[in-house]
Subunit: 241 residues, 4 copies
């Protein structure tokens, strides 16, 4: 995973929060833009041997918010490059779209890439609908304990289910949190980063323009995910059935 943390105008983050949510009390404009290259599978592990069904990449923007006196992480935008990840993400409250995601890999032999060492330099890009939306560069400086803080709280997501009538109402609106277990992290490095966000008529990531870079990070992570917890469930519509 490659992470760039930066500060945007907090007003841009406030616009993305549902009613009843507040900005995080400290560093309210902090954003983490994260690129990840995953290999995933179910409990049978069968997808591992058919890796077209196991590997996917994603790029997502995480912001923080305050709700019921706690600080939460929240995914504002996310792109993946496989359908199984997209559908699973919608289930989890991630507003996933398809994109083309690329990130430099560290190498252990040869010369065509950086090593995990001071000065090792990585690139990462995101495109959707045939437009480049973001690109970042990370230059490693030293090992770190934790690769950033913006994505470090429990996630707080809305799972809304618009009615088929397409009249602007939701049949169901949930507020959920989730977390992985057996999480394992290694090779965490910090360094200097740059990020550029480009405009698009169909994607709003560029609204979260960076005003100041906080830092950049590289790390490896393995995580198992089983399920989340519904914090609130509301049914705005009459029960008709």
């Amino acid at each position: 995973m490659l992470t760039v943390e930066y500060r945007t105008d907090p007003a841009r983050i406030a616009e993305l929060l549902p009613e009843g949510f507040d900005l995080a009390p400290e560093d309210p404009g902090a954003v983490a833009l994260i690129w990840a290259d995953w290999q995933s599978c179910g409990d049978s592990f069968e997808e591992i041997l058919d890796p077209v069904r196991a590997q996917y990449k994603e790029c997502f923007a995480v912001v923080r918010c305050s709700w019921e006196d706690k600080t939460w992480s929240r995914c504002a935008y996310i792109w993946v490059d496989k359908d199984f990840a997209l559908v699973r993400g919608h289930h989890q409250g991630y507003p996933k779209k398809l994109g083309s995601i690329w990130m430099t890999r560290p190498i252990m032999v040869g010369r065509a890439g950086p090593r995990l060492e001071p000065g090792g330099t990585f690139g990462a890009t995101l495109a959707a609908a045939d437009r480049r939306l973001a690109q970042a560069v990370l230059r490693l400086k030293e090992p770190v304990e934790t690769p950033g803080f913006v994505n470090g709280h429990p996630m707080l997501h809305n799972r809304s289910w618009p009615a088929i009538e397409s009249d602007g109402t939701d049949a169901l609106d949930e507020l959920v949190t989730m977390g992985g277990y057996d999480s394992e992290i290694s090779d965490a490095w910090g360094g200097e980063a740059e990020v550029e966000l480009f405009g698009s008529p169909s994607d709003e990531l560029f609204l979260l323009q960076p005003l100041e870079i906080i830092g950049g990070y590289y790390h490896r992570v393995g995580v198992s995910w089983k399920g989340g917890t519904t914090l609130r469930r509301t049914f705005p519509l009459e029960v008709e059935g």
Copy 2:
């Protein structure tokens, strides 16, 4: 759109129906496998000028069922090749996945393709996860009034919303119907068809093996879609919020 209608073992269709649904009373094993090449847009029409956001192809299998004394069409499986179509489809109760979909286009000049005339021959293929799942051939015979009957009833879909707890329960289960308006059809032709379905560990289309071909059809269609109607809405879980 290119349609192949055929009969499969009705038991295969019965296995796909939720509790409370029955097979259609007449020709219960009938299946329509439909390939479509769409251009779509919202009310602003802006996507038409950025066609990467307007054009998509899909392939879907339609079966029929009986519920509350009426016969309905129902999409059993569907693949599309763009994310906006996938997400819109999930909203409508279509179990969309991504696939690679190709169909021969009729031509008006030159020699590299069939014309809309007797003997004009079309191919259509579907692949997902790097495996070919289906291929069909259609040889036109004569103009027809209606391009098949399996997809001709109102659609009856379930929209289920599994709880984030991943414990097998649904937070919401809806039964919806929908239909387009301003539908316009042209150039409907019928003919002889063949279809082959191939096995896959991740897609179940091959379970609907053809036992007998009913017919094949080509037609053009334009349709507007606004919203559907919720026929039944159930909340299997306690309201916790």
Copy 3:
């Protein structure tokens, strides 16, 4: 096919011509940027029934030049979206790369697109390496006899074959011309056009910036291609074998 013809700085075109070629005597800065959506096949026609192997899209920039007292068309840059088209193009002297190419289709039913009639408006886009390189809009005005003039001469291409020694020498350099036969054209319309070209570190199309639009065109074409003619063949290297 959708064509936008415009004038760029003739010095930009001169930079692209090999030694011994001159600018066209009239309108030397004229460029045609052409989007095409093809269905192609060999003499057996078998690809028509497996359309993933028959259909491809391309976008290419054509300029003109003068050589041996004649005016020729010449492809400066070209992108396609299938490998069989790329390899065939290299054989023909087209410097093809892969790209993502989209163009609005005219429709005959429904509302999601333009018709071939005055005011019908089309979009076309090109992307490569996850960056948008070009986009155009065409608004039809009236039927025309010929859809532009820049691509109307015989093609004059170089086919160079760099030596495996990678020392900057060519083992072979050919000058070839080619043309189709049985060409058939229909539905040619002219209108007003706009085009934008965007920068990229890996593609040079943006160097041919439009200074003035000449016109825009839509037409359908069918063409057979058998082979070309070698006008000049030189062997810069010693024969070693």
Copy 4:
């Protein structure tokens, strides 16, 4: 890189060799089917920071042959997933086509994949034109000195340049060899392997059916490539220029 070595009917390999080439004297039916996941760049290293232009995967079948009393390796078929690799491969005499290539990655954290240790199990697949062409499974047993022998000789490739006249003649035919420098290898493991090859109307890999598995290998490699050597250059056609 993931390699499966096996024996096919030597007659199948003989059919692929040009006139004047013989089968390798020992183990003439040996084939190496190799999957590779590369990161590559030019001397400026700029592609490393725009990894969509640096990373590609390939799958290729290597056979051996005898020419002028030496044994050579020779690429029979090869698929890549990026255009820059395809064009560079044609320059080197590799008959590259586009394909979809996937291979399991070893992991260092988490549970979603194998580790480089006894029992670690990897999958690899190849598809082209929406058909799966090959799939393999490798189960690691122990570290090895060299990951196979079939791809271990200098490469001997033909670089042919068919005349634009499309009359079956070549304007140039070269026999070239090439090799990398600064090659670095690590993490070589051997183990048990299985491979399946599937039929296709457009790809002939399935003709090299495995009769007996020799072994399977995993290793990492870094290599620089500068150029090759022309061993023979013939000009079948008259010089006309």
